[in-house]
């Protein structure tokens, strides 16, 4: 499996370097630029803040599929707790693509659909800059949960 690491019956999504390295790299560049070129403004602190938040988010975030407990466990952002979704509640998946000017894709997100108290809800599982890695992750998720 390309995207998941297996330990017994628990599958963990590999760290998505392809998403975070360009993102963190870009803001790191802006931070350095801020410190060197515009030392008088507060810009450099904003950039440093964003870089730090992104890096922490990267290390703290995870997605696990536990086939023993039959559930998804994921931590989406720094400030949210661990969300648990039982496989029996899973209703389907949605892929959300954000396109600029109608055809340049800038963000693709994989969401799991479920219902709570009669309302349709979504849980974010993964995101990337383009569709190919998300399609690959979804294919492997299907493989895992259908086994």
């Amino acid at each position: 499996m390309k995207n998941f690491t297996k330990e017994g019956n628990v599958y963990t999504l590999n760290k998505q370097y392809g998403l975070f390295v360009p993102l963190i790299g870009f803001f790191l560049l802006l931070t350095i630029l801020g410190f060197v070129k515009i030392p008088e403004s507060t810009f450099k602190w904003w950039m440093l803040g964003i870089t730090t938040l992104l890096t922490l988010s990267f290390y703290v975030g995870f997605l696990t599929i536990d086939m023993d407990q039959q559930e998804f466990r994921t931590r989406v952002s720094l400030f949210s707790g661990v969300k648990v979704l039982p496989l029996s509640d899973l209703e389907g998946f949605t892929i959300h693509k954000l396109k600029q000017m109608g055809f340049i894709t800038t963000n693709v997100t994989l969401l799991a659909n479920y219902s709570k108290n009669g309302k349709n809800k979504e849980l974010k599982l993964a995101q990337h800059f383009y569709t190919k890695p998300i399609q690959s992750i979804l294919n492997e998720i299907h493989e895992i949960i259908e086994r």
Binding site: I95, T131, K132, I134, Q135, L138, N139
Partner: protein
């Protein structure tokens, strides 16, 4: 007009064929009307429009013309053919001929939504989010749309799902 007549549905001989884009006929008429109205405005009020107004009218006419032509050639007559004998799905657009898309066992049908409207799409298993083909008209959320959805699912989608099994 009945949905199955509008989309030129043909079921028979273990094959299902239909043209999902035929519904844009009305928008094409709208484009022609738009061009006519803008041309009349351009003709009658030429002096009063001023430089900017004249350019705007010309841009509108050119845009409607190009968009209409594109839809007419590349979309209106696109036809999807589900051949049960060969177990293959073809996409046909008259001046350009027929192209094989995928085999029956690779086919997967998903719903796709774009700013409020949704439609059914056909894709290749494990690649459906990279490239998919729109196989239904756009459905909104009102009562009239519900009827169209019901008609589409009854006349076209269910027979296709049966055939693909």
């Amino acid at each position: 007009m009945d949905l199955k007549d509008k989309l030129r549905l043909e079921i028979g001989n273990n094959c299902i064929a239909f043209s999902p884009y035929r519904g844009i006929m009305s928008s094409l008429y709208g484009f022609v009307a738009g061009i006519a109205v803008t041309a009349i405005i351009l003709g009658l009020f030429n002096a009063r429009l001023g430089e900017g107004g004249r350019i705007l009218c010309c841009v509108i006419i050119v845009y409607l013309f190009i968009h209409g032509l594109y839809d007419l050639i590349f979309k209106l007559n696109v036809r999807y053919i589900f051949d049960g004998n060969d177990q293959v799905i073809y996409r046909e657009n008259l001046p350009f001929g027929r192209r094989k898309l995928m085999r029956f066992e690779e086919a997967v049908i998903i719903t796709s939504s774009e700013s409020c409207d949704w439609h059914y799409s056909l894709g290749i298993k494990e690649k459906q989010f990279l490239k998919s083909y729109k196989i239904s008209p756009d459905f909104g959320s009102g009562k009239a749309s519900e009827k169209t959805v019901f008609a589409y699912e009854k006349e076209i989608l269910n027979p296709i799902m049966e055939l693909l099994r």
